[in-house]
C-alpha cells in the first residue's frame, strides 16, 4: 500500500466508520475492512475503479466527491479521508467544512508545493515546477491548488479547527516506502498528512 496510506491507516481506530474520498481502487478501504473491521465507504469518479472496489468487497459510490459528501447527515463518519486530492478541488474551503460536518475527524494529505526542489526550479529556471509528484505542465495539470504544509496549518487554525496529528513525509506519489521528516518539513517533505477535528466548543 502507498506509504501515505499506510500512515493514514495507522491512525484509524478499529471498528470505526470511514469515508474515503477519491478512494481509487479501494486499496485503503479494503485493508481497513479486513484488518480493522472498519465500516467504510468510498467515493470514486471512475467506473473502472469502482469495479475494482466492488471486487475487493469495498462499498463504493461512483460520483463527484463534493456532491456525494453533501447528502450525508452530520456525524455520519468517524473519519473522512481526502488523500492526495485536495490540490485538485475547486473549492477546498467549502469541501473541508462539509467534511468536518459529516465526519468527526478528517484526514487530509496533499503534495507540499514548498518542497525545496520545487522552490529551486522556480528560483533558477523560472518555469512552473515539474517532478514525480507533480508530473504535469501548467496547462494540463489537474493540480489547481498550490498548497504548502504551512498554508494548511494556517488554514486549519483560521477555520477554527485543530490539528490533532501531523506527519510530513518524503516519498514519491505511489511509493510503498518513505521517511518521516521532522526537521524543516515545509522545506524537506514532499507530502503533508494531517488529522484534523473540529474544536470541542464548535458543534
Amino acid at each position: 500500500m502507498r506509504y501515505d496510506l499506510q500512515i493514514i491507516a495507522s491512525w484509524i481506530e478499529p471498528g470505526s466508520r470511514v469515508l474515503d474520498l477519491g478512494c481509487g481502487e479501494g486499496e485503503l478501504l479494503g485493508f481497513l475492512k479486513k484488518e480493522k473491521l472498519v465500516k467504510g465507504t468510498g467515493i470514486e469518479s471512475s467506473e473502472a475503479k469502482v469495479e475494482k472496489c466492488i471486487e475487493k468487497g469495498v462499498q463504493v459510490l461512483q460520483g463527484d466527491i463534493t456532491e456525494e459528501v453533501h447528502d450525508y447527515p452530520d456525524n455520519s463518519f468517524d473519519y473522512v479521508i481526502l488523500s492526495q486530492t485536495l490540490q485538485q478541488v475547486l473549492e477546498p474551503d467549502i469541501l473541508i467544512k462539509d467534511l468536518l460536518r459529516v465526519g468527526k475527524k478528517i484526514i487530509v494529505s496533499f503534495p507540499n508545493f514548498s518542497y525545496w526542489s520545487i522552490r529551486l526550479q522556480i528560483l533558477f529556471f523560472g518555469y512552473a515546477p515539474k517532478n514525480r509528484q507533480l508530473p504535469y505542465e501548467w496547462y494540463n495539470t489537474p493540480n489547481i491548488r498550490i498548497i504548502t504544509i504551512k498554508d494548511f496549518r494556517r488554514f486549519v487554525r483560521e477555520t477554527g479547527c485543530e490539528v490533532i496529528k501531523e506527519v510530513d513525509i518524503n516519498t514519491h506519489s505511489d511509493d510503498l516506502q518513505g521517511n518521516i521528516i521532522r526537521f524543516l518539513p515545509n522545506l524537506r517533505a514532499t507530502y503533508g498528512i494531517f488529522l484534523v477535528s473540529r474544536r470541542n466548543n464548535t458543534p
Binding site: 467506473e47 466492488i54 468487497g57 462499498q59 459510490l61 455520519s76
Partner: protein, 392 residues
Amino acid sequence: MSEYVEHDNGGISVGLVEKKFHTFAEPPNALMLESGAGLGPITVAYETMGILNSDKSNVILVTHALSGDSHVAGYYAADDPKPGWWDIMVGPGKGIDTNRYFVICSNVLGGCMGTTGPSSTNPTTGQPYGLDFPVVTIGDMVKVQKVLLDHLGIDKLLAVIGGSIGGMQVIEWVISYPEMVTAAILLATTTRHSALAIAFNEIGRQAIMSDPNFNKGDYYSGPKPDLGLALARMVGHVTYLSDEAMRSKFGRRLQNRDNLAFDFEANFQVESYLRYQGSKFVQRFDANSFLYITKAADYFDVGRQHGQDSEVEAFARVTAKILAISFTSDWLYPTYQSRDLVKVMKKNGLDVSFCEIEAKCGHDAFLLPNERQSALINRFLNRVSEEEHDAL
C-alpha cells in the same frame, strides 16, 4: 424491456429448466390486495436453477420487468430455439452463477405467462377475467412471490435482483420484508415513475383500449386487439432504446429498397423493425396484462406507499446491502433517479454501492451483454455471500 434473448456467445447455459406452478388463496382464503379487493385462487408460475444448499443460504430471487416471465435462463427442450430472457446473466460461471446460487424467478401477478392475470379464468363466471381482474400493485406482486417462497420453505434471500419494473419489486422486497433480504441489486430502476414514463405507458394503454377489437377487455373469445398492442409495443420499444443506439442500428437506411417509395409502407429500416417487434409481441403477450402491469408500475411510489410521503422514512427499516446500477443513455429511468435512490439510502446509513455504466443502448442496456454489469453483479454477490458466511 425488449427481447434480446440470444444464445450465449460462449455456448454456456444452465441447460434444461421446467416451468412449475403453485396455487394458493383458494376461496374463501382470498389474498387481500392493496386496493382492498380480494383475489383467489392464485396460481404462480416459477422456475428454479442451480442447487439449494443444505442451510438454504444461497437463494437468489430474480424479478422480471414488463414483458419478461419466469423463464429467466436455460431451455425448456433440447431443440428450443431460444433460451430464457436473461440467459446472458444467469448460468454457470455467469454474473449470477448457478454453480453457486439457487435462482428463482416467477411470473408476476397480472401477467400472462402462467401466473394468474386478466386472461385467467374468473371462478365466479367461468370466463376470463378481462377488466374484472382487480388492479394490482408492485406490492401485490411481491406478496405473491413471498407466498411462493414460503411454499418452497425459503425464509432467507441472499439477494433479490431486478431491472426496470423488476427493480421496483426489489425495492418493495427490501422494504416489506427487511428481515428476509441480505442484499439487493437494482438495475436501471426508480422509486417512482417520472411523468415521462407514465406518459409513454398511457400512450400504450390508449393504443390498446382504442383498438376496435378491445371490447372493454373482453376479447378472449374473438379477435384480439393486436393492432393496439403492437402499437403499444412499438412506443415502448422506442423508449427502451436511445438516440445513439437507433442512429447506429438504423440511421436513415431504407428497407429492401434503394429509393423512397412515396407510400406509407415501411420505407425505413427503423419502421420495419418496429412493425416486426410489434407483430412478434402480440403472439406471446396479452393486451390486458400490458394494461395491468404498466398501471402497477405507474402507481408505484415508495414514499407514498411506505413512508407517509417520505422516501427516507420508507427505507428506515431496510437492512439489505444494496448495489444500484444505472446506464448513461437510459432516458426512461435516467441516472438521476438512481442517484436519488442512493441519496435516500445514504441518509439512512445503509450499505450502498452505486455505479453508472457507460452504455449507448438506452434502458435496455441491463438486458444486453455487458461485461461491466456482469462483473459488478458477480463480485457484489461474492462479497455478500462471503460476509454472510463469515457472520454465521
